[in-house]
């Protein structure tokens, strides 16, 4: 077994492009570390320290770095997307719980879940353009395709807020349901999906005014999304129910379910599109789901309260194509 581990470490950390493409990064939010796993061997290869309470990870617009937000140490740690090596630390980004770049790459936005504010930065140099204090636990964010508006779910107050990026002002703030968390803009740019962690499903919201267009029952504690393929299908984690639902957003119906115990949260799909990796917050594990069969095929031990999960890029990936959005969107992985 030890030989296998050393071989896997040598393989993954030995700097070969194929090996790096095999790696997965998982943020252990409650022990200030991140784990590097091997996709093929399904084992944890190494664990590295990072600032306190890291929750989410995103890719920079140039596709060269991934940024880990450390919410207690108020900083972003940059890692080279090809080698995993540390590139820089961006200080004084206060409580960067969830974050993302606008599709045009001009704006960088963070939701300070613990400290009730939304920060809008000029992405160039991470200069703060505006801080908006807003009650209700700002949770997750999404952008419109034109990079004019950022949408922020407010988990405590059950509302969804929209802010103008250029002026950093509130456009609207409306109730959408109990404990809204994960949010995505669908490719048609006309519908927002919002997961209601305090209920048993999601709502479809009009991005113009926040009006709820329809609802869909999925499972208790609907929490976060991850797209499959072109964005017609979305995976959704149901934290209380302990399931992952597969949603067809064209017909707005659930087309599959898989049981994943232990508070399933963030997800990522392997580059070959065959597996969905899901963090199991409570069990300190990452579940591997065979997408075709919709069943859990492995569960890998990691650190305490694993939250964000990210597939490291191969050297051939190059700059990110098209929009790079919040952590839990498909474009981060392209």
């Amino acid at each position: 077994m030890r030989k296998l581990v050393f071989a896997a470490i040598a393989l993954a950390m030995g700097a070969g492009e194929a090996a790096r493409a095999d790696a997965v990064l998982v943020l252990n939010s409650d022990e200030a570390s991140y784990s590097i796993l091997s996709r093929s061997s399904r084992i944890e290869l190494a664990r590295y320290p990072v600032g306190r309470e890291p929750h989410h990870v995103i890719v920079t617009p140039d596709g060269k770095e991934m940024l880990i937000g450390s919410t207690v140490t108020n900083e972003l740690l940059g890692l080279d997307i090809k080698t995993g090596e540390r590139t820089r630390v961006v200080k004084d980004v206060i409580d960067p719980y969830h974050m993302g770049f606008s599709p045009n790459g001009k704006w960088f936005v963070t939701a300070a879940y613990r400290l009730d504010h939304v920060d809008i930065f000029h992405a160039d140099g991470y200069r703060l353009a505006g801080r908006i204090f807003i009650d209700g636990l700002p949770s997750h964010i999404a952008f419109d395709a034109e990079s004019k508006t950022v949408f922020v779910t407010l988990q405590q107050s059950g509302r969804l807020a929209a802010f103008d990026l250029q002026t950093q002002t509130l456009k609207w703030n409306v109730p959408v349901g109990n404990a809204p968390a994960g949010i995505v803009m669908l490719p048609d740019n006309k519908r927002l999906l919002v997961a209601l962690t305090g209920e048993d499903g999601i709502v479809v919201v009009d991005p113009k005014d926040g009006g709820v267009q329809s609802t869909l029952q999925t499972g208790k504690g609907a929490h976060n999304f991850w797209p499959q393929g072109d964005g017609r299908l979305y995976f959704l984690s149901n934290r209380v129910e302990g399931t992952i639902s597969l949603i067809d957003t064209t017909e707005m119906k659930v087309v599959g379910n898989v049981r994943v115990p232990g508070g399933p949260d963030c997800m990522a799909i392997t580059p070959d599109g065959k597996e969905l990796w899901v963090t199991q917050r409570f069990l300190r594990r990452v579940a591997v789901i065979d997408i075709e069969q919709l069943r859990v095929v492995a569960s890998i031990p990691v650190g305490k309260s694993p939250h964000g999960v990210f597939m490291l890029q191969s050297g051939a990936a190059g700059p990110a194509r098209g929009p790079v959005r919040a952590a839990s969107t498909a474009e981060d992985q392209k």
Binding site: D30, E31, A32, S33, P49, V50, G51, R52, E53, V72, T73, N74, D92, I94, R114, L115, D116, H117, F133, L137, Q155, Q156, N178, A179, T197, G198, K220, G221, R239, V240, G242, P261, G262, G263, R281, F282, L283, R284, P301, K304, S305
Partner: protein
């Protein structure tokens, strides 16, 4: 090791997903979902602590007692109730519900002024890459803060009115550590949580620090006649060292309780001149008969009486009116 973690976490998850999580969901308390999960671990750790105390530490008390059994043995019962209420999370839960929003508000206000508390990693960047060193340093700092808070408990009359409950016991045992008024617990918790946030203690670390610290403190209250050598007695607070802090004041030693304050590391007492190392056996308790009367009361009566004592100390007008 991983098997043990899996068993522990599996049990914690099962309890949470079966009993706690669904209740939080039904009552619309999903903002407390993660804290709720951590609370389950807190209670589980409390059970472990009770087992360690009741089986492990009690073994030493029975085998090598410093103070022999006597008529006051019955007074230990109320201290056991305190320990159960604390270790099983009932008192800490109430305190958490009060302190959590308060701490959030304080931090929000501070941030609104544009001030971000410095973290230790800013001063010592290498700490971020060394989990064990980081944990130990935070532990030492936490204990340093606890030492000064303990001194404050003795220095301010209104705080002493609360803290005197802890000292009023006549039979000092492993169960004595948790014998505190809830307002006293609340003040200490609030101060330590704020301090921990200021220096950047991770919540997970905080729980471990708290658990190890409280176990050492339970041990330091034990009725055990054991010596850990010159160095051992200066590295970690032991029963003899802390028993002196609980010693009954006498005409020759009127301020004996103003010594040996340190919760875990005696270095603070040595550095700040409050350490006394000697092997003299002294009875424990308080000289003030009004405070000593705590011993004839149960948990509820103690809480009410001591709160009244606190209110009188805090409000001179009430104190004068009572005196008249």
């Amino acid at each position: 090791m991983r098997d043990l973690i899996d068993i522990w976490v599996g049990l914690q998850t099962w309890i949470f997903e079966t009993a706690v999580g669904p209740v939080l969901f039904e009552f619309g308390l999903m903002a407390w979902y993660e804290p709720g999960y951590n609370a389950v671990e807190f209670v589980m750790l409390g059970v472990v602590q009770i087992v360690v105390i009741a089986v492990g530490m009690r073994f030493f008390e029975r085998r090598w007692p410093l103070e022999k059994s006597g008529k006051d043995d019955r007074l230990i019962l109320v201290d056991q109730i305190y320990t159960l209420l604390n270790k099983l999370g009932i008192v800490p839960l109430a305190i958490f519900v009060v302190t959590y929003p308060l701490v959030q508000e304080i931090e929000l206000a501070v941030r609104a002024w544009g001030f971000a508390p410095p973290r230790l990693e800013r001063i010592l960047p290498w700490l971020g890459d060394n989990a064990l060193a980081s944990f130990l340093l935070y532990f030492v700092l936490y204990d340093f803060a606890a030492y000064w808070l303990h001194r404050a408990q003795h220095a301010f009359p209104w705080w002493w009115a609360l803290h005197s409950l802890h000292h009023s016991q006549r039979r000092m045992t492993v169960w004595t550590d948790d014998r505190n008024h809830v307002v006293d617990d609340l003040l200490i918790t609030l101060a330590l949580v704020l301090f921990s946030q200021l220096v950047g203690v991770q919540p997970g670390e905080y729980v471990i620090i708290l658990m190890i610290g409280r176990l050492v403190e339970s041990w330091s209250h034990a009725n055990v006649d054991m010596n850990f050598g010159w160095l051992g007695n200066r590295l970690l607070v032991g029963p003899r060292f802390h028993r002196l802090h609980h010693a009954l004041a006498s005409p020759e030693e009127r301020h004996i309780q103003d010594h040996n304050f340190a919760p875990v590391f005696p270095i603070w007492d040595i550095l700040f001149g409050t350490a006394i190392y000697d092997t003299r056996n002294r009875p424990t308790g308080v000289a003030d008969p009004a405070v000593d009367n705590d011993n004839d009361r149960g948990w509820i009566a103690q809480q009410i009486t001591v709160f009244w004592r606190f209110a009188r100390a805090l409000t001179p007008k009430i104190r004068r009116a009572t005196a008249l």
